[in-house]
């Protein structure tokens, strides 16, 4: 998908004026925040588990190549194959090639954010394959031809009547969704329609929440069961995973699972947590005969090298989105690519380029809620600041902004000069404040809130008066 992150401001303005979206966002936010809070409150060990989870992932990243090789060997020992892809194009060619060799025609998909990242569906459709998303949210947005607006609730921006309209359009005459938008009716209709697609699937594509180096297992964390049907019924199972998904052992995966579900949906464990290890065994009565894992780099090895390594700890739980005041106001589509919210504002510039997504690191008040709820303790505000600095350094921001920042820097570095400007500023604001609290040229900003009215003196000047000689 082509990023539209450049037009973040216009996207955001549109989102703020969309009453349906605002209603959906408010509903989702309350649900997610409350469920996580209750789940965390019920587990006194949560904070110490976060620290353990962070340490596990940090250790893994420090030995990433060794663990990936161990994972590869273990997959092969279990009868599977591992493929390596430097970028989206390579990953899609591998997937197309596997499907073609398998003689597949119909492909069923479980939710995969890497799949969104590399845009695997259009790549397969261009080659003539029939691809259907089976996660209910993903299925809804596939019908709507939209990208996901949340990493764990892709259709969170759709209302039940939107869903009913999509279903009755695509499910043909006589579908119940034509006359009802009850969630139960819609769910049953989707279950019935997708059940036929499951049975006809030749190849199943899923993501992976973890790759376990010890055993070569891939871990699927879901609630609907669609990921399990996609990895059980077809002849071929293809797993898409970023190279950062590996963890050393089953014990390590288990600890991170404890913070994942609680942070994402407020569950202690999702309905289905599945460890898939290789292909069907000789005596097995079901399961795919072929098992492929496609490891995707897509900018991750670059992140490993520098100040953004911590971002590779991300387990895609969505907690930072749910707690972000900016995401809560504008929703996921405004961010213009597949990863929204604070994690997306870090990942998108690193994956599609800062020139394309320079607006995103600025779409944050740096309030720090994201870091405080992140189960992997990722310092998101620090990384957003680092990206702002980089954008300035690499001239992705306008000449006027850079000049202003340079001027500010020059003043802030010289205390005497700074005091002159600060006291002039304080006097000016005090004068404006006395004149009714409107700031000329600030647009609607001071229409709805009064300009602060400082006393007209700076802190330094006040201190000098009060402390006199005691202040050097």
């Amino acid at each position: 998908m082509r990023p539209t992150s450049r037009s973040f401001k216009a996207n955001a303005r549109g989102a703020l004026l969309d009453p349906g979206l605002q209603k959906a966002l408010a509903r989702a936010k309350d649900g997610f925040i409350g469920r996580r809070r209750d789940a965390v409150a019920a587990l006194p060990e949560f904070e110490s588990l976060r620290a353990t989870a962070r340490d596990i992932k940090q250790h893994t990243l420090e030995h990433l190549d060794t663990y990936l090789l161990r994972f590869e060997a273990a997959v092969q020992a279990a009868g599977g194959q591992v493929h390596w892809a430097r970028d989206a194009g390579e990953a899609n060619r591998i997937v197309v090639d596997i499907c073609r060799r398998a003689g597949a025609e119909h492909i069923i998909k479980g939710k995969s954010m890497v799949g969104e990242e590399i845009a695997v569906n259009p790549a397969l459709e261009r080659e003539g394959f029939d691809v259907v998303e089976t996660d209910l949210g993903e299925y809804i947005i596939q019908l709507a031809k939209e990208p996901p607006s949340h990493i764990i609730a892709p259709a969170v921006h759709k209302s039940r009547s939107d869903v009913a309209a999509l279903f009755s359009e695509h499910h043909g005459a006589g579908s119940e969704s034509a006359s009802s938008d009850e969630p139960e009716v819609l769910l049953n209709e989707a279950r019935r329609v997708l059940r036929d697609r499951f049975m006809a699937g030749d190849a199943g594509i899923t993501g992976a929440n973890f790759l376990v180096a010890e055993t070569g297992s891939i871990v699927l964390v879901t609630n609907e069961g669609n990921g399990d049907l996609s990895s059980t019924l077809p002849r071929t199972h293809i797993v898409l995973a970023g190279i950062e998904k590996v963890v050393p052992t089953l014990e390590d995966a288990t600890t991170i699972l404890r913070v994942l579900a609680r942070s994402a949906t407020g569950q202690t464990l999702t309905s289905y947590t599945t460890f898939v290890t290789g292909a069907r065994r000789a005596a097995d009565p079901d399961g795919p005969q072929a098992f492929h894992v496609v490891l995707v780099d897509g900018g991750r090895s670059d992140m490993l090298a520098g100040e953004f390594r911590d971002m590779l700890r991300c387990i895609r739980c969505g907690a930072c989105l749910n707690h972000c005041p900016v995401y809560g106001a504008v929703g996921g589509h405004a961010y213009g690519w597949v990863y929204p919210g604070p994690m997306g504002s870090v990942l998108t510039p690193l994956m599609v380029g800062l020139g394309e997504a320079q607006a995103l690191p600025n779409a944050s008040s740096l309030c720090g809620r994201c870091e405080s709820v992140c189960p992997m303790m990722i310092p998101l505000p620090r990384m957003l600041r680092a990206l702002r600095e980089r954008a300035n350094r690499e001239h992705h921001v306008s000449w006027i902004q850079r000049s202003a920042l340079r001027a500010w820097g020059a003043i802030a570095h010289r205390p005497a000069l700074y005091r002159v400007f600060a006291s002039a500023g304080a006097r000016a604001i005090a004068a404006l404040g006395r004149r009714g609290g409107r700031l000329p040229g600030s647009g609607p900003w001071t229409d709805y809130r009064a300009l602060p009215r400082p006393e007209g003196r700076t802190f330094m000047a006040e201190a000098r008066t009060r402390l006199g000689n005691r202040l050097r």
Partner: protein, 222 residues
Amino acid sequence: MSDARAAILERIARALGDGRDTAAPAARTDNPPRHPRPELGDGTLLGVFVERLRASGASAVSTSESAAGAAVAAYLREAGVPLGDVPAASDPYLTRLQWPDELVLANRAPGPTEPAAVTGAYAAVAETGTLVLASGATHRTALNFLPDHHVVVLDCSRIVGHMEEVWELWRRERGPLPRALNFVTGPSRTADIEQTIQLGAHGPRRLHVVLVLAAEAPAHTA
């Protein structure tokens, strides 16, 4: 794409630099670390398990080994499932139970609109109220996901405290992992339509557990 493999590994090695403890990963995978596990609180493993199983949206009934088959039949009858041909796992634990004549368990794949299936479980985890279902010669994975009602007959001596104990148990009893190890916690669910939690998205709409208590324990309805 061996080019890609070499290139990615090379980039990672360059990013990580020299001077790493190269023995650490093998030491860890050979001897997995013991991380802190949450306290389970008061009560027996069975008590904690049943409480959390119910909280996950599953139903449960406890019974003796001799009455387990009848308990399965009673649940299916109540649910309106025809008893003449119910797909089931063929593991020895299930097959040696006494089954009422009217309930015919079939060792076959479930169909796309299968009303019900009956399986055993490898183990269960008290911490989360979770059933552990392992694929293998006697257990088709599709039984866990296709039917509307999934009935699991659980030997309660297989309940452990935490997921880590399942790994310890499996390594000791079986060795390499099966193709699929499903940790199932309640019925299938979704909140994708207006954040309304609904059961029975793609997997079973109902999960029912028949808890088989040890022979000496008195049977009662849990």
